[in-house]
Point group: C2
Chain length 333, copies 2
């Protein structure tokens, strides 16, 4: 568990695209973001207060989160200087970089000397159990996609916010590095050892109040041959009561697989639901989340209407039109 | 790749059950087994020549394989003495124990000093790629089960032998520790990091002659919630042209999951085939392998006849009645 709140390190990010993780924290956990730390030449700006390390400590920040993708996969000298000083000034560090914090001997030495913690959220820090498949109290919802990167994390985040606004009990459960950095906790599922994947998701979504919903972040796709095993472990470990189908209609092939076509929403439903019912016979598909970012608004609305008619399910783009329909669908279960 | 042939270390195994790995090597790769090494009190006997280390070296043995499950999960003092001497006398060591050879400082030190290799087949020794889903030349067959431990490895091994006897090109591809120790090579799939599971199977089953069959060892089951993700990665990484359905009819619940029932063979086929066709649209289910060890012979034959009639597929118990029907099914593709 990463200590909050955070100071968001933007470094020398060339643009906002490179600051995806920091933007996620600002948007979804604004209470976690005390301020931003930028190096000279930084092209990203989250609109948060610029703070140095001392100011951020005074404002209560406990962890410096590297909220940017670094260049060339390495931690630069300029970054390193800030990271070492942050440890000395009492910050923990958290990052999802390929270049692990723990692989930098100077960071390890300073962290040990100062008693601070280095969080590499790409690497599991827990010894997960093997899944036992036992039913758990409380309810769980999982977003499954026709492809990778179609908006599954965003959908679960937007549903959590909408449900909490309505007074429902809801918790986003992160299964990827961005989600873990945003919420401070979760399972880096793509880095878990095969035998423990489903068990890690059981661990992440334990017994809860009967009217509490875990909104489990989806990963991969049953139709994406590189990562489908991860997706099925999520379905069987999560034991979802409800599935949300996620889709990006303009995609011409599966992400990174030029010769593979995304399935239809109907095919996704026909494939995912029987598999989900192996672990939870009561599982239902309750709604559709469409990522319409590449469609004009009229086309997007027309597409959603057609999906609702074809699938007989509520459909929305939670980013563009809100997650109300999906929250209502869960409230009705 | 483990150097063959082997001296099979049976240690102080209390009985034959504890010597499962050694039995597999003797049965499936007799050319790999130069002899057996037994400690006083050993209750297992493979019927091979008893040899000491010097005799086995003289007979050409290159690796001492720990062919037994050890007691309490630790390498005992009695074992250690033999293992150290074996390294000193020029043997590599290979084991699939929870207690890794590499975690024993004295073994590591002697192996370094003597230039020998310690093979812990539970632990991947290769940096596998992420699967790219590209079609590969040659043909592949995968055994999928209604449950774990229904005879998938045995089925693939028996098919390999039968096909080779018929002059067909066939290679068993190990995906578990026992299979790796038997053949000297393979992928310990249950220990692979989630993101690389499917890629490891692509790596294991590369381009080959058009008439060559890889017989891929199955793992888990799509219906076993603890391990289903591993199974789907195997289906999508393996891109099988042919599936063999494996079943154990007397099982009353899924292995280790008392509240889960095994599916019917029809349900297994209806689930596995569409998933396999995502990666290989030409995939077919070509036969059924039934583990009838808990059935009298008349019942077994009647059961197989019923399966053939119900499924319209050849069905056999390859252990009891041979793998000819399954080899013929592949020859017909």
């Amino acid at each position: 568990m990463i200590q909050t709140p955070y100071l968001l390190f933007l470094g020398d990010a060339p643009d906002m695209l490179a600051a995806k993780v920091a933007i996620g924290i600002r948007d979804w956990r604004p209470d976690h973001a005390v301020g931003q730390f930028r190096l000279p030449g930084c092209g990203a700006d989250l609109g948060l207060a610029d703070m140095d390390l001392a100011q951020a400590r005074a404002a209560g920040a406990k962890t410096l989160v590297i909220g940017v993708a670094n260049r060339g996969g390495v931690i630069s000298k300029e970054w390193k200087k800030v990271l070492v000083t942050a440890l000395e000034e009492g910050f923990d560090l958290a990052a999802g970089l390929h270049n692990l914090l723990r692989d930098e001997p100077d960071l390890v030495a300073v962290a040990q000397a100062t008693g601070r913690t280095l969080h590499d959220v790409r690497v599991p820090e827990v010894k997960y159990p093997i899944a036992d498949g036992k039913p758990r109290t409380g309810k769980r919802c999982l977003a499954v996609g026709t492809d990778c990167s179609v908006g599954k994390m965003y959908t679960a985040m937007a549903m959590e916010r909408e449900m909490r606004t309505r007074g429902m009990k809801a918790t986003f459960r992160a299964t990827g590095q961005t989600g873990i950095l945003i919420t401070g906790d979760g399972v880096p599922l793509d880095a878990v050892i095969a035998d423990f994947m489903a068990g890690s998701i059981e661990w992440l979504t334990p017994d809860n109040d009967p009217d509490h919903w875990d909104l489990i972040e989806g990963q991969g796709s049953l139709f994406h041959v590189s990562y489908s095993g991860v997706t099925l472990a999520l379905i069987h470990g999560g034991q979802p009561d409800a599935l949300i189908l996620c889709h990006e209609p303009t995609r011409t092939h599966m992400r990174g697989l030029p010769d593979y076509q995304p399935p239809s929403l109907q095919t996704l439903m026909d494939t995912a639901l029987p598999l989900a019912r192996i672990a939870n016979s009561a599982c239902q598909v309750v709604g559709v989340s469409v990522n319409t970012q590449h469609m004009p608004e009229d086309d997007a609305r027309a597409y959603l209407e057609k999906v609702e008619a074809d699938m007989n399910l509520p459909a929305t783009d939670p980013y563009r039109f809100g997650a109300a329909k999906l929250a209502e669908a869960l409230a009705a279960i």
